[in-house]
Amino acid sequence: MLNMRLAKRMWVGLGVLLLIGGVGVARQANAQAVVKIGQIEAQTGPTATYGWMSSQGAKLAVKEINDAGGFQVAGKPYKLELIQMDTRGEPREATVQFKKFMEDGVKFVFGPFLSNVFNSIEPIANLHNGKFLMFAGATAAHSLLGTPNHDYLLHTFNWDSGPSGFGTLMVAQLKKQGVKRVAMLFQNDAFGKVAADIYSKLFKDAGIELRIELFEPGTKDFSASLAKMAADKPDYLFPGYSDAVLYDIVRQATETGLFKKFFIVRGSIGPALKNKDAIDDYMAYVPKYFESAEKTEKATSKFIAEYKTFYKREFPYDQAPLCASSCYDHVYMLVNAMKAAESVDDVAKIKKALMSTPYDGLWKIKYDETGEVIFKFDLVQVKRGGAISVISIDPIK
């Protein structure tokens, strides 16, 4: 009798266990799988300007996609999971973070924008070639595109030189204005040196004399450098690559009347507007001049509205152009590519799909055969008094 009772209880228990297990399996079958995107950018620290906006834009895109119910790849539903790491611009820290991504099987890495960070993780990335894709904005990534062991690499920030390069076009514009001599005052760091190499050639090819001075990153008082460089009487000053120094350089240069014409390839037009009555000309490359695009482009006004709602803060017009790199559009491009490739983990197929499909979102973007991005950008010119003119250049046409 006792044995029968015991056997009955065992069967009931087994039944309950099976029921619980069954419900679990059914739940798992209905649940959406997750595609992980790792983002490795400086969100704090002295070079945070470059990663901050990319991190904000990518987060917003992931939120929008997930809120819309995710996406379907080969009939299966997926959601995105964004894992953001703050490198603080520190190569050593970034190395540890990147290794963690690889250990966790992250197949899509957004960033880095900083060349010093890219240079430190690149040897580790090479060991995982073929297993993931990296959407890097770093200038240093450009020369490695299409080389052996770098199948994982896509360069997301457009390149200065080459036929479609914005730098080539801007130097040509200077040449048209009859400029003979330019003084370049740049940070003495990885990108500063790369920029000095790129622009030495571009100016030489254009027949414009270029004098280069490099300064210690973190410098705030440029009076000695400016006075020294002004002695050569250059037509234009080509100063630094971030607003953190541009505000100070433009103010100090105009205050003492040493320079009134500026040529900018990275940085906003904020310093020109602040000193609008002291400058003569301020020519700047801007991936997108959001202030005017907001009025004319639907995608841009939608992005700005979504940003304000999501982050509950004013839209950072001066930082927003940096969202051109490994940011909002690239998340959508990746999702589209996964759909087209009918896979979320075959990185070769996904890369092929990415490179064969132009995208028209916040920016009009495409990749060339090496993985170099080409996108529509703006050339903004500020004249004395603050008059702004914008020329949109579309190298994709």
């Binding site: 704090t44 620290g45 002295p46 945070a48 300007t49 901050w52 003495n188 001075e213 490099l214 300064f215 210690e216 973190g218 410098t219 705030k220 008082d221 009076s223 000695a224 450098s225 006075a227 020294k228 002695a231 607003d243 953190a244 505000y247 100070d248 103010r251 205050e255 003492t256 009347g257 904020g270 310093p271 602040k274 950072p316 001066d318 930082q319």
Partner: protein, 286 residues
């Protein structure tokens, strides 16, 4: 060329007083509490941001914005002293660790509130004064005069008032000072708050000269410690001299040598001084 050199001598002296005000804060804190407070750089940054916010966003007149920022930083100095530094008195390592942790917290806080976008205060006193072919921005000259006044005022307060003499006595022999009726706990807190206010003032005036970013304090505190060591720790006038020497070395060095190594010129000068005078220019014999 001579105009360039004279211009940089003047500019170096002006920039040097900014190093000096922070060096004075470092030297006072260390002399009384035994703490090398690296967070003073972050307090300076905070002073700059609060001034910018009060002036540009709240539309306060610049002078009132400066006073408000200095008082606010003083309050932060008091709170951090009561909550953190009070427990690290005369413990160099603990004090250092707490101050470094505080830098991260303050920088992250500023980044969250005001983002990484550089902030540039509306110009307070635009224009330059020109004389003998040398031009100097008016605001730089005003900042220079104000900082000199505060540093010399602090020196006089330290040497001519009872509290100042009590501070000196405490720095030499804390037990004897306590036995003579000096309220040591209050004195330590007062020095921490005053140092924070000096740093805040440095930041508030800095904001009228240069753009602001959350990490500006980190670079400045290193220069301030350099200036304090160069002069000899514990000397108010020495802090001024150390800052000015550092500023001039950087400015004039940048004319003849590559600008890229500007920060190194001051360090080379520091090493040279320490080789000859190990206790600094104004430090006594050990």
């Amino acid at each position: 060329m001579s105009q360039l050199v004279i211009g940089q001598l003047l500019n170096g002296a002006i920039v040097g007083t900014l190093y000096a005000i922070l060096a004075l804060a470092v030297t006072l804190t260390f002399g009384i509490t035994g703490i090398v407070n690296f967070a003073l750089g972050a307090f300076m940054m905070m002073g700059g941001y609060l001034t910018w916010y009060a002036h540009d966003s709240l539309q306060m007149p610049y002078a009132i914005a400066v006073v408000a920022a200095v008082v606010a930083v003083g309050v932060v100095g008091l709170v951090t002293d009561l909550c953190l530094f009070r427990f690290t008195r005369n413990n160099l390592v603990n004090g250092l660790l707490v101050s470094i942790g505080l830098i991260s917290i303050i920088e992250a806080g500023v980044l969250i509130v005001w983002t990484a976008t550089p902030k540039d205060l509306a110009y307070v006193l635009p224009g330059v004064i020109e004389a003998a072919g040398i031009s100097a921005p008016k605001i730089k000259l005003v900042v220079f005069a104000l900082l000199l006044l505060v540093i010399l005022g602090t020196y006089l307060a330290l040497t001519r008032t009872w509290t100042g003499r009590a501070a000196f006595a405490y720095a030499q022999n804390s037990e004897a000072a306590a036995l003579m009726g000096v309220n040591t706990a209050a004195l330590e807190s007062a020095v921490m708050v005053y140092s924070a206010m000096l740093a805040g003032l440095g930041g508030a005036l800095y904001a009228s000269l240069y753009s602001l970013e959350p990490t500006l304090g980190s670079a400045f505190i290193l220069k301030a410690v350099e200036a304090a060591i160069m002069a000899g720790i514990g000397n108010a006038i020495g802090a001024l001299a150390g800052g000015v020497i550092l500023g001039i070395t950087e400015g004039v060095g940048s004319i003849y040598l590559p600008i890229a190594f500007r920060d190194a010129y001051g360090l080379v000068f520091l090493v040279a001084i320490l080789l000859v005078k190990p206790n600094g220019l104004f430090g006594g014999k050990s």
